[in-house]
């Protein structure tokens, strides 16, 4: 159960889910309503985590990954798999929900343990959405392959929680699950929500302040997850097409978009463009902030 505290213009409901601190900011004078809305956000986070977390043995994702054969999925999951497939297509294969297997070779713990090319190449047959048999509602993974919604589950949960909360009450609100956030619209009186971007160097200090009135905002980065060997910094952003980290990505990219999900995909894609990240952001005409 989360904690409710009074803040300027309303309430803050804070809880933990998806291995992250989560919060809902709710502009109302009614603490009962703030509780209900906060609990709605928490319940949605818990629902999606239980269904899609790869860390939970009883999740649907774990069941698909364990299954030695086809699995039929529900319509929500089917829609998300279709979405992931389409994102794979429009990103020329950069976005790939099968890439988690690469973590067997790459452990980003700040050490210098960089895998050998052979270790990485051995995983190549297990990575690639094009190797997955997917025709709604049935998915079949080749043995040893895995999928995860790491790149979109939390963002989807944010959008979904906001939608559920807005169905309950028309009050200005902001939902932030571990830095991926979405607002219901402007604050009361038409004002903007102020969001600070965490510094990549010193956790807990702010690097910049962004104001948003609509949509979602996410930040991707490799602030504290990288390998350093022989003076080379290996980013934790792995290109699923090569199995190797992308070259010279920004240390953090923050993108604003209509939904948290879009913002998340776009910030991840920007990172996957490595040294071309800024060019990608510019060519897409996105509202974005980055740090090198």
């Amino acid at each position: 159960m989360g904690e409710l505290s009074r803040v300027e213009d309303g309430f803050l409901y804070a809880f933990r889910a998806m291995a992250s601190p989560c919060e809902a900011r709710i502009e109302t004078d009614d603490p009962g309503l703030a509780w209900r809305l906060g609990e709605t956000a928490e319940a949605e986070a818990a629902r999606i985590e239980a269904k899609y977390s790869r860390y939970r043995d009883d999740s649907l994702i774990s069941r698909i990954n364990r299954a030695d054969g086809p699995v039929d999925v529900d319509s929500e999951t089917a829609a998300l798999l279709d979405y992931a497939a389409q994102c794979h297509a429009i990103s020329d294969g950069r976005f790939d929900i099968t890439s988690g297997v690469l973590r067997r070779a790459w452990r980003f713990d700040g050490s210098d343990r960089v895998p050998t090319p052979e270790e990485v190449a051995a995983l190549a047959p297990l990575v690639g959405w094009d190797k997955v048999e997917w025709r709604a509602p049935r998915i079949r993974l080749a043995r040893g392959m895995e999928i995860d919604f790491g790149g979109l589950g939390k963002e989807y949960a944010v959008d979904s929680a906001v939608a559920k909360m807005m169905a309950l009450a028309d009050v200005p609100l902001l939902v932030n699950f571990g830095g991926d956030l979405r607002v219901s619209g402007p604050r009361g009186g038409g004002g903007a929500w102020r969001v600070s971007i965490e510094s990549v160097d010193v956790a807990g200090t702010a690097e910049g302040l962004i104001e948003i009135r609509t949509g979602g905002l996410t930040t991707s980065g490799d602030a504290r997850r990288f390998l350093l060997k022989d003076g080379v910094r290996y980013s934790h952003i792995l290109d699923p097409r090569t199995g190797w980290p992308v070259e010279n990505p920004p240390r953090s990219v923050t993108v604003a978009a209509a939904t948290c999900l879009e913002a998340g995909l776009l910030s991840t894609l920007a990172m996957l463009h490595g040294s071309e990240a800024e060019a990608f952001l510019a060519s897409e005409g996105l509202q974005a902030w980055w740090m090198r």
């Binding site: 809305l37 389409q86 020329d92 609509t214 209509a258």
Partner: protein
């Protein structure tokens, strides 16, 4: 896929994301790209909001008053919708009506006073029914021993029966569930009971989503069984009004079919077209309504006959409605055309516009225009000496008239999840059934019995998971 156009990926992604949220029906919010200038704008597709697990309750009370001391109604309504977690819904509504007041009895006005005599007790009962209020008196008719109720209408006034009083209670419910990814079925039923009328109905329907849920086809069928048992029995049509007890209860059966298509035209525009066909057979006459039979020269009432309507009626209508969200306002605009085998043709046009005043207050002005032609057998009165038609009714609802309704709704968010609303409406029927060629004194009298009414509805709705 090669996407080289600037912004192509984010545009494609925007479309994909919008599709995803339609697919999981989770996007209750505007998904336009963000802009510093953009004000909050409602999306017409918010009906697709994910209501899984949501319960919505609505309670309201309606006060209705017709001008000139005619019908006054008080109608409390409670309704609820429960949404299951797998897309099932259950809705229930309970409504109670209490109606009192005077209702036109169907006779034409006259330049002199008119006295009407009607049965006073129910068939089989020996005690009088004390509906004799509003200026009528109970009399025992000499010679027959029958107790009758009599009331007199003053000269020049529209004859009304002031003894009208009824209570009604109605219950209806429906449940629906998805049976496949894009297919939903529903079944429902309704029952209502008045002192002299019972009605029960059953319905079943199916909807099919196509085209990534941008198109929805629907088909539903309804069957209704009614039973009418007037206070003093059912009079034989076109017989003379009298104090004698009348015939047995009567029934009516109605079958109807509605087919529709709903189309999301774009993010701001939702349009719906539906066609309905209905077939009713059985007793459809108003057992309390009479017609004057007038002298062909003077126009003076000679006798009063009970009205008569055909036992069969088929109706069809076409309805087109649009919901348009542009900027912060939501406009609803609709039109309906109707015709039936009784010769009534009508059109309805309606518009309403919801305008937010603040984040917690909105106003919604609304206007409706209605116009209909008369049924083939509509007669303001019958003329003595002329052949009696098979069917005749002076009910103004079957006559030619047009009507305008103007309303204003005020909605106020209360405590975030609740909404308090007040709707005021003014309704006016316009028509004139008088004619300069009418016999004698009737030429200067307007026999139109249309309604002018005011209603106020006060309600509170709230939702919770």
């Amino acid at each position: 896929m090669q996407l080289t156009k600037p912004g192509a990926i984010s545009l494609a992604l925007h479309a994909l994301t919008a599709n995803l949220f339609v697919a999981v029906a989770a996007d209750a919010q505007d998904t336009r790209p963000p802009s510093v200038e953009s004000a909050e704008a409602p999306s017409v597709n918010s009906d697709l909001a994910n209501d899984q697990g949501l319960t919505r309750l609505d309670s309201a009370i309606l006060f209705y008053q017709e001008a000139g001391g005619r019908i006054r109604a008080t109608e409390p309504v409670v309704s609820g919708v429960l949404n299951g977690t797998a897309g099932e819904t259950l809705s229930v509504r309970i409504v109670a009506d209490s109606l009192t007041g005077a209702t036109p009895n169907g006779a034409a006005p006259w330049t002199g006073p008119q006295t009407f005599t009607t049965p006073a007790n129910k068939p089989g009962s020996t005690t009088t029914v004390t509906t004799a209020s509003g200026g009528s008196t109970l009399v025992t008719l000499p010679g027959s021993g029958l107790t009758a109720r009599q009331y007199t209408t003053p000269a020049g006034q529209l004859p009304v029966d002031a003894g009208f009083r009824d209570e009604r209670i109605g219950v209806d419910g429906a449940c629906s569930t998805p049976i496949a990814e894009n297919t939903r079925v529903s079944v429902g039923g309704a029952y209502s009971a008045e002192r002299d009328y019972r009605s029960g109905s059953l319905n079943a329907g199916i909807t099919q989503d196509l085209n990534q849920k941008n198109t929805t086809l629907s088909l539903s069928a309804n069957v209704e069984f009614d039973r009418s048992f007037p206070y003093f029995g059912t009079p034989t049509p076109l017989t003379e009004m009298s104090a004698a007890q009348k015939g047995p209860a009567q029934t009516k059966t109605v079958y109807s079919l509605v087919a529709g298509v709903t189309q999301v035209m774009n993010r701001h525009w939702l349009t719906q077209l539906s066609y309905s066909y209905g077939d009713s057979s059985g007793y459809q006459t108003d057992p309390y309504r009479i017609l004057s039979v007038v002298d062909p020269t003077t126009g003076a009432p000679l006798t009063y006959l009970y009205e008569s309507r055909p036992r069969s009626r088929t109706r069809q209508s076409l309805y087109w409605s649009n919901k348009i969200a542009l900027g912060p306002t939501v406009t609803e605009i609709s039109a309906r055309g109707y015709e039936d085998s009784w010769g009534v043709k009508s059109i309805t046009a309606e518009i309403s516009e919801r305008v937010p005043i603040t984040s917690w207050l909105y106003v919604e002005p609304q206007a409706r225009y209605y116009s209909q032609s008369a049924a083939d057998f509509f007669r303001s009165y019958l003329i003595s000496g002329q052949a009696l038609p098979a069917y005749a009714s002076s009910d103004s609802r079957l006559g030619k008239f047009d009507a305008e309704t103007y309303g204003l709704k005020l909605g106020m968010k209360v405590g975030g999840s609740g909404e308090f609303y007040v709707l005021g409406e003014d309704y006016q029927q316009n028509g004139r059934n008088g004619s300069s060629t009418a016999p004698g004194g009737l030429a200067i009298l307007n026999t139109f019995t249309g309604v002018k009414a005011t209603s106020i509805m006060v309600g509170y709705t709230f939702a919770f998971y």
